[in-house]
């Protein structure tokens, strides 16, 4: 399973480094991490997907919250949330294939954003499953290159996921990590 954490962080040099260093140091298994600006100039926002098979999301949240530059962290997995990922896919296509590709793109509400003599770039936005679906179809046509931004998440409704009461004090964690450090350490 995957959990989605949203973190607000100070927009200062080195903050991404601190977060990445934390994940590596604690051997947290992270599926994806995206960073971007928010409407507030000094605040950036991270969306972090945690692989819960190997890493307890509560531990990731607790450790992130301890970083001085992290303003708040919230696990939005169980909130109604909009999740979006964006992909650019370059596929082989000569003029004869264009019409068919265009149709295909329409089905996925994707756009052809660049056309060259023997390739096109398709842009698609959506949740993970939708993008995976398009990629499956395009693969047989020969993908030349592809890039995905990683997922960003936002809770639905008028709440700002970070303003809810008690966001700034710890709820008692119900431990669900029983030792991501399960191996004992044999050093003198």
């Amino acid at each position: 399973m995957k959990h989605t954490l949203v973190a607000l962080v100070e927009d200062k040099p080195g903050v991404l480094n601190r977060v990445a260093s934390l994940f590596r140091r604690r051997a947290f298994n992270i599926e994806s991490l995206t960073v971007g600006r928010t409407h507030e100039p000094a605040v950036s926002r991270m969306t972090i997907l945690v692989d819960t098979e190997q890493t307890a999301p509560a531990l990731v949240e607790a450790n992130l919250s301890k970083l001085i530059n992290v303003i708040d962290v919230k696990d939005v997995t169980h909130l109604p949330t909009v999740m979006r990922d964006l992909a650019l896919v370059k596929v082989r296509a000569d003029a004869s294939a264009l019409a068919e590709l265009n149709q295909l793109a329409n089905i996925f509400r994707a756009n052809i954003v660049d056309v060259s003599p023997d390739s096109v770039i398709i842009e698609v936005t959506g949740d993970e499953a939708k993008i995976d679906g398009l990629l499956d179809v395009l693969r047989s046509r020969g993908i030349i290159e592809m890039v995905r931004t990683g997922q960003v998440a936002m809770a639905r409704g008028a709440v700002n996921g970070h303003d809810v009461p008690a966001a700034n004090s710890w709820a008692t964690p119900r431990g669900n990590g029983n030792g991501h450090l399960a191996e004992s350490v044999g050093s003198v």
Partner: protein, 564 residues
């Protein structure tokens, strides 16, 4: 508003933080700060290696409960400090390290003595700063002190480029509230959790309290004592928990874990409830996690949420400052007796007593355990011991009975050899009237023995007991048990420590027989200045009991009893 240079601002801030001593070593990138130092009422201790500066600040912090300060130059000065910073990090010790950095215009150019110090220290500090504008300096230093001592304490580093030290600005010491930590542990524990904890505690037949360093950090010694006495639950200690619960109290089981008392480990393994106070289930305490206290429910009172269920699954976590939590919890628990459980533990304890080497008539050589026991006796259990890392550290923990908090300072989490002498120097500044003793091995002592000169230059009184076994004893012990006695790189040659001390103009003695131990200790205590005693102990002795790394906590190797 006064105009000050960055260098002056550093000292202005330190004065306002109540700092009266700093430990450091100068160099090019920190020169402006050293120049400004002469105009401020702060005593500077010149160390012999920057690792020593960090350990001294750490020792000062642990002995006083206040923030210790270390200063070094850029590049090698800062990298030399890293071992001391990591040591403070692993043991939650509040220190602030101030380092010089190359000028902002050349940062990133591999300038002379340039190292990315905030990068290097990122994983071993609670937080760090690279201050590139003099206007930000006062705020950074103020935050550094606040972060170092708040919640779970730790080291904070402030890296100050040379041009920032020279630049000027208006100086105001900021007094607005610092927003860290942003997420706070609530002062009020949810009543339902307290009720549940009380219920579990009242129902438990074989409970054990586990106490760690957090008891001391929270200042909850009295509250823990009250809780234990009311419930009559036995108390086992982590290495850094030693001193927070009186060693000779009826309920005290002593240290648990890898070299813990056998009866303490048995109690943990046989418990139906563990009540953990300010400890973190370190692997040295738990042994094999799969078989650790299998039949026990676990209640964990802890200030750091990231410690909850990190290693051991906790059934009932209670987040908070231990002292505050116990003030809410103790009134809710019932007074208990638990006679059967305590009797069972007493039986186990008697079995251990029979193996106690202090009682063994058949040993007439000088054992490290004898030295420690006699040191305890001769100092009436009132010394402030700073131990190094190795066998002697474990014997100290087993045989010196600490009754008071802050009476044992040792590197627990990182296990840093060379810690003791510099940390003791720092501790002596914090507790000038304490009877401070270094207990170090012949190996570890050589790692930082250069600080003997610092000791002498500062005219401090403290005594040094070198437990000299001719080996890197703890590693030798592992080789004996697990590598078929192949002593690879563990026999160690030492200088003549008596002559070495003499070179520093420090009096020294050598002790080879049991009957000379107490007189030597007494003679050392009577001398006004520092004294070194070289105790020549049995070379191939081992620390028992021992739980091999990763083995079940109850699978202890015991000291062989002689066959009649």
């Amino acid at each position: 508003m006064p105009i000050r240079t960055g260098a002056q601002i550093i000292w202005e801030c330190l004065v306002r933080e109540g700092v009266d001593v700093v430990f450091g070593y100068p160099g090019g990138a920190i020169l402006p700060t050293y120049d400004a130092m002469l105009d401020y009422p702060i005593h500077h201790v010149l160390v012999r290696h920057e690792q020593g500066a960090a350990h001294m600040a750490d020792g000062y912090a642990r002995a006083s409960g206040k923030v210790g300060v270390a200063i070094a130059t850029s590049g090698p000065g800062a990298t030399n400090m890293t071992t001391g910073i990591a040591t403070a990090m692993l043991d939650s010790s509040p220190i602030v390290c101030i380092t010089g950095q190359v000028g902002t215009s050349v940062i990133g150019s591999d300038a002379f003595q340039e190292v990315d110090v905030t990068g290097v220290t990122l994983p071993i500090t609670k937080h760090n700063y690279l201050v590139t504008h003099v206007e930000d300096l006062a705020q950074a230093i103020r935050e550094a002190f606040h972060i170092a001592r708040s919640d779970r304490p730790g080291p904070v580093l402030v890296d100050v480029p040379k041009d920032v030290q020279n630049a000027k600005c208006e100086f105001v010491y900021p007094d607005d509230e610092i927003p860290y930590p942003r997420r706070r542990v609530p002062a009020q524990v949810p009543a339902a959790d307290l009720e549940r904890a009380a219920e579990w505690i009242d129902q438990a037949e074989r409970p054990v309290i586990l106490v760690g360093h957090g008891v001391q950090i929270s200042g909850a010694m009295d509250q823990v004592l009250e809780f234990a006495e009311k419930t009559q639950i036995p108390v086992a200690l982590t290495l850094l928990g030693i001193g927070t619960f009186p060693a000779q109290h009826r309920l005290c089981l002593g240290m648990m874990g890898m070299h813990g008392e056998a009866y303490a480990n048995r109690a943990v393994q046989g418990a139906d409830l563990l009540v953990a106070f300010g400890m973190r289930f370190d692997d040295r305490v738990t042994g094999n996690l799969k078989t650790y206290a299998k039949h026990a429910k676990k209640i964990h009172v802890e200030i750091d949420p990231s410690e909850i269920s990190k290693n051991v699954h906790v059934d009932l976590p209670i987040l908070g400052d231990l002292k505050a939590v116990l003030e809410q919890l103790t009134p809710r628990v019932a007074a208990g007796r638990r006679d059967a459980w305590r009797e069972q533990i007493s039986e186990w304890r008697m079995e251990s007593e029979a193996r106690n080497i202090l009682r063994r008539e058949d040993i007439d050589e000088l054992l490290a355990a004898h030295v420690i026991h006699d040191l305890w006796e001769a100092t009436e259990g009132n010394a402030l011991i700073v131990s190094d890392v190795g066998q002697h550290q474990m014997w100290e923990a087993q045989y010196y009975l600490h009754e008071k908090p802050r009476s044992l300072i040792t590197s627990g989490g990182l296990g840093t050899m060379g810690f003791a002498l510099p940390a003791a120097i720092g501790a002596k500044f914090a507790q000038p009237d304490a009877d401070v003793w270094v207990v170090a091995g012949d190996g570890g002592f050589q790692m930082t023995q250069a600080e003997l000169a610092t000791l002498k230059q500062e005219g401090l009184k403290l005594n040094i007991a070198i437990i000299n076994n001719g080996y890197l004893g703890m590693v030798r012990q592992w080789q004996e048990f697990f590598y078929g006695r192949r002593y690879a790189a563990t026999p160690i040659l030492s200088p003549d420590f008596v002559k070495l001390a003499d070179a520093y103009d420090i009096p020294a003695m050598r002790v080879t027989r049991r009957e000379d131990v107490i007189p030597a200790i007494q003679a050392a205590r009577e001398k006004p200045g520092p004294v070194v005693i070289d105790f020549r102990v049995v070379q191939e002795d081992s620390v028992y009991p021992m739980v091999p790394a990763g083995a079940d906590l109850h699978a202890m190797i015991r000291r062989p009893v002689p066959t009649q």
